[in-house]
Symmetry: C2
Subunit: 211 residues, 2 copies
């Protein structure tokens, strides 16, 4: 297995593996205690290395956060993933927006640690001096622009994607509220709870062919 290359070297963990370990540990710990609630030593212990050893990878504590956001956050659960998924409503030529939201909720439900990280950081970043403040501040508009690039098929009565702003906003608000609740009461099923909101936000018969 491509082992002969540089065979005089001892096998050891590659930087990529370390990076991955650091990311996973950070997701768990920050998701649980918040960025303000953890220390670099906590993460280092979790990964099994010294605190200066960790700093070698992330530079500073903020660097750890940047790494997390850039490499993990915006990399999954996108409309692009949805169109490639082949689930009902994901026809790349005529995708259904409610179907994407269901996809997104399922995606989040399948990665609870990442979801928790998101919820916790989002609230923590309300503080104007938080390293992610600007990121989350700009996010709603960025997400809207991002979504706007896809050819969603909508009921004619809506009158075009431009009129979806408040519905998109309310959908995000509902999701955030649900996620916060599920964090405290894990017995609540995230997907079921979202379906209840979907029924209200995208009602029959208006959305029957477009959900």
């Amino acid at each position: 297995m491509a082992k002969d290359r540089a065979s005089h070297q001892r096998i050891r963990k590659t930087p990529e593996e370390r990076r991955r370990e650091i990311l996973d540990a950070s997701i768990r710990l920050i998701g649980e205690y918040g960025f303000n609630g953890i220390s670099l030593k906590d993460v280092a212990d979790e990964v099994g290395m010294s605190q200066p050893g960790l700093l070698h990878y992330v530079g500073t504590k903020e660097g750890l956060l940047s790494m997390l956001v850039t490499d993990v956050y915006d990399m999954s659960g996108t409309p692009g993933d949805f169109l490639a998924s082949g689930v009902p409503g994901s026809d790349p030529e005529a995708p259904h927006f409610p179907a994407y939201l269901r996809f997104l909720v399922r995606h989040n439900a399948s990665r609870p640690a990442l979801m928790q990280l998101y919820v916790v950081l989002q609230s923590e970043a309300v503080a104007p001096n938080h390293p992610l403040h600007d990121y989350f501040q700009a996010r709603p508009e960025q997400v809207w622009n991002f979504y706007s690039e896809y050819p969603w098929v909508l009921p004619e009565e809506i009158g075009g994607w431009e009129n979806m702003r408040s519905l998109v906003r309310m959908s995000i608000e509902a999701m955030d509220g649900i996620q916060l609740r599920v964090l405290r009461e894990p017995h609540i099923d995230l997907y079921e709870e979202w379906l209840a909101f979907e029924k209200l936000l995208f009602p029959s018969p208006l959305w029957d062919e477009y959900r």
Copy 2:
């Protein structure tokens, strides 16, 4: 102005006044930076006293938080306040639940610092070692029990208060999501946004006489 009583004493700030100052400063600072995001010195500076001076009042850092929760949180915006408010739907003999939720949203909108405190603490307390973890964990059930004591009048089709569980839960979820959004985009009107959700959660014609 009642100055003659104990006129031989110099006028100075009473403990009550100090308490009030400490509470106000804490609401602002913790709401903005989170409990993990502030130090006792931050609060002390804000109030204009030394850090040990502050500790004289609150005992420990956690004591500050307890003081906040006990004295401020659960003391306002209750159904009791609602019934005494005289607004439409607040007849103590036959109160309307959606009317109470509107009352609650208006109340929150009128005290943005307190609302922000609530949102930030709620997420921070996801951490199992957070001093308010248990408090927020138990809260949904407590709120439900608290609400259950009032004789809300509901559409007959609902079939009784017991069937309101999911609707109450979804209402709270929506509110939490809205509040989080408004914190980042203050131009959004909290009350207007809630009315949009109310229309979905308590639709016509079912709720027309009970809203």
